[in-house]
Subunit: 449 residues, 2 copies
């Protein structure tokens, strides 16, 4: 098989989706989510296993009811920069909101990470789920979907323009001629758009991979459209085989419809594998994990998250799910709509809805090493993903996956046995974007004056 | 002498003030300003020499006429985060503009650096000198001094409020009781001010030093006032012994007038020592350096920087300095006013003004190791600084200073022979700020209900 599987690692720290009680596991340090050594070790383990990338999620709104791993964590770019110098191959993808950043500032930080890591940076563009984030940025209201995704698109375009400020041969640094910079190879952007006015140029040059890789996470119609237009990677939820196939086909089709090569967008689904020596042991472990994730207060808080940090604890737990549709228009419309529809269809109480909110955890990758490898091969062959964003409860479980499942994937020719490149683009099989100004120059050279 | 001298290192990369031709020195790598290994080595050398901190300057506006070291450089916080895990004691001070950042975003990044470094982060608050920065942030005009410094003050207050979101014992992480966070120890800020509305809380806890150390750089009346109100460190230009004394006394007096302990603001002056085995050799070297800094285009560009990136090359170089006073109100009023006054007083041409703009380089610390140590001791004793922000042209010159001057300072009891602490506050002799909410709680406990 020539199409290659990609694997990334989403380190949980003290918790993750459907893993809100993880901090209680005695093997998990209580400060894991703020311990840079934990992340360096995770990145080194990922690199040892030849994974494509370390993937850091993020959010910027909390209240005291939120699960442990949201409460206290490192900012993704400072985190990844510290990790960069302790690794050499693994990609470094950080989540940052296009709704609550300025393009010049964020483009510069990613450009800097891209240089520090030698061309391994990726930016997971999110528009921010938590509506309360607006109040940390001076705004009473979170912008609606159209505004947020419109801003995201323009933001990425501006960032890419800034990243091309310098052509790759802009710095002759010719001592005899007293020329450090060739001034014709530095370009202002002078962007004027609906959301941004940015003059440029950026004061950072391009890295070995040209520009950071753009990822995206967001499954609404607007999110899919953004991905198809500009993303080179996606963090997608996964779900069932059928829903993953639908999503995968839809994204590839949309990408092609924008005149882009659909191979140049790599879709990663979330996978929280549970692997054990036998299928039975893995299933038992999966049930234990599900049983452990039993903190109703945390479930209510997370449920509320999709409705603007709405306080569901004020409602009767055993009455029908309350009518909160009006609260769902902003942050988490896609998630909220699903919850409401299911509650209505199945006539669920608030308690039932809260308890079943752990959907995201349910992983197709539960079983013995062979079973999990089989399942990965089947799903991969069925057009459901290009890669998996793997998340493990503990370092031990990551190590077991690497030792037991990865070799099978390698034997089957699905996964690399050595890194193809030192850059994230190189390993993902993504082209290096030619600097737009060099491209223009090449065109003029070709046509002649 | 009980008052201790502090030393920081300002790495030049490919250039610095009055060192605009440095990139031509064969010992300087052309990519030093974007090479993280260069900064790691500088930080490790600073730590080996027991310096208090590495100090990273910054700017966010360039055009093709700017000197080499402005053109292409790493963003300070990603830079320092990468350096953090390769050092254990040295402080990490990064420059960031309060004019072109959001408090929640920047407070979070510094809090993250503070955790990653184990309590060694410092923030050099600047209001941005280059007026053109505004056009990278969607604004046609750079804000005036009152607005910029008003915003800076409020920004620092908000950041400090956010940094106190969690009391130090907020996370019992009690598995038996199923309590990760004690919710009474997480605090919203709910700041509403002239420039910012920020709800909080911040999703990052405090570090070993409580909060990042606030530095400030800016010498206007407004800048001095900001420093006296909130800064714990200053990067000051130095100048003559008399001007440094005046500045030092003024800052300490102002600080006391705000009810603060004047020992809790450490004034660092810029020092670019030129040390050689003999005084003569050092003076010869100093003349060579001055002669080398002869790129008139770069001098014109830097001169223009104080007047909103004004293009002085359009004027006759040998005519009297043009009337540009109207351009000096915004970014660099203090510097610009000095330039205009001197040009008028001494009847200078544009060329003369441009050529003498290298003032900042002229260092009082030129001579043999003993001469330089004497000079440092005299200035220190004369109340001109608490510390020196040392800048060296090359790694070799840094090494020579460390090997020849530092031991003399240590013998005289002026400089430490081992680190006092693992935190920046600890080494600077600054107190750890008690969390404001803990303080309030302690007060209530003391008075009783
Ligand atoms: C797999 C996945 C991972 C995500 N990770 C983040 C994240 O780390 N931070 C964040 O703010 N939003 C994250 N999001 C949320 C999206 O950014 C988006 O705001 C949210 O899903 C609402 O938009 P949508 O309806 O388009 O999905 C993620 C979404 C998905 C599907
Ligand atoms: C020693 C020194 C170092 C400075 N470093 C920076 C810097 O790295 N970045 C920056 O934007 N401004 C820097 N500044 C400029 C100040 O932030 C300030 O904007 C400028 O000096 C104009 O304000 P003022 O008139 O109060 O000095 C520095 C100023 C001094 C005196």
């Amino acid at each position: 098989m020539s199409r290659k599987l990609h694997l990334a690692l989403h380190p949980y720290g003290v918790g993750g989706p459907g893993q809100h009680g993880l901090w209680k596991d005695p093997r998990v340090a209580h400060d894991a989510s703020i311990d840079i050594n934990y992340y360096i070790q995770q990145a080194q383990a990922a690199e040892h296993a030849l994974f494509d990338a370390l993937f850091i999620v993020d959010s910027q709104f909390i209240n005291a009811t939120y699960p442990a791993h949201y409460l206290n964590r490192l900012e993704p770019l400072t985190l990844l920069s510290a990790v960069a110098t302790h690794t050499r191959h693994v990609g470094l993808v950080g989540t940052a909101s296009s709704t609550y950043n300025s393009p010049f500032n964020l483009a510069r930080r990613f450009a800097s990470l891209d240089l520090i890591s030698g061309g391994r940076a990726g930016w997971n563009v999110v528009t921010s789920f938590d509506t309360g984030t607006s109040r940390n940025y001076g705004l009473d209201e979170h912008a609606d979907y159209t505004t947020r995704y419109g801003r995201a698109l323009e933001f990425v375009e501006v960032a890419r323009g800034l990243w091309d400020s310098y052509e790759d041969d802009a710095f002759p640094a010719d001592v005899a001629a007293n020329v450090f910079l060739d001034p014709t190879k530095l370009h202002e952007l002078n962007h004027v758009g609906e959301h941004f006015k940015v003059a440029g140029p950026l004061n950072v040059s391009r890295s070995a991979q040209g520009q950071p890789v753009i990822f995206q996470a967001g499954v609404s119609e607007e999110g899919r459209d953004l991905a198809a237009r500009v993303a080179e990677g996606i963090y997608a939820p996964g779900g069932t085989l059928e829903s993953a196939q639908e999503y995968y086909a839809d994204i590839k089709r949309r990408t092609a419809s924008y005149g882009r090569n659909p191979d140049h967008i790599k879709i990663f689904i979330h996978g929280g594998p549970v692997v054990a020596p036998t299928d039975e042991a893995a299933q038992r472990r999966e049930r234990e994990i599900a049983a452990e994730d039993n903190d109703l207060d945390r479930h209510l808080a997370l449920l509320g998250r999709s409705f603007g940090a709405y306080d569901f604890s004020q409602h009767d737990l055993d009455a029908p799910f309350p009518d909160v549709a009006a609260l769902a228009e902003k942050g988490g419309r896609t998630a909220a709509t699903k919850i409401i529809e299911r509650a209505r269809r199945d006539n669920l109480t608030l308690r039932q809805v809260a308890e079943s909110a752990a959907d995201f955890r349910q992983s197709p990758f539960v079983g013995s090493p062979t079973t999990v490898a089989d399942r990965i091969e089947t799903w991969f062959g069925a057009g459901t993903f290009d890669g998996i964003n793997l998340a493990f409860r503990t370092t031990e479980e990551l190590a077991y996956f690497v030792d037991s499942v990865v070799p099978i994937l390698q034997q089957r020719g699905l996964f690399r046995t050595e890194y193809e490149a030192d850059t994230l683009r190189g390993n993902l099989g993504l082209p290096i974007p030619v600097n737009r100004h060099t491209q223009a120059r090449q065109y003029v050279d070709a046509v002649g004056a």
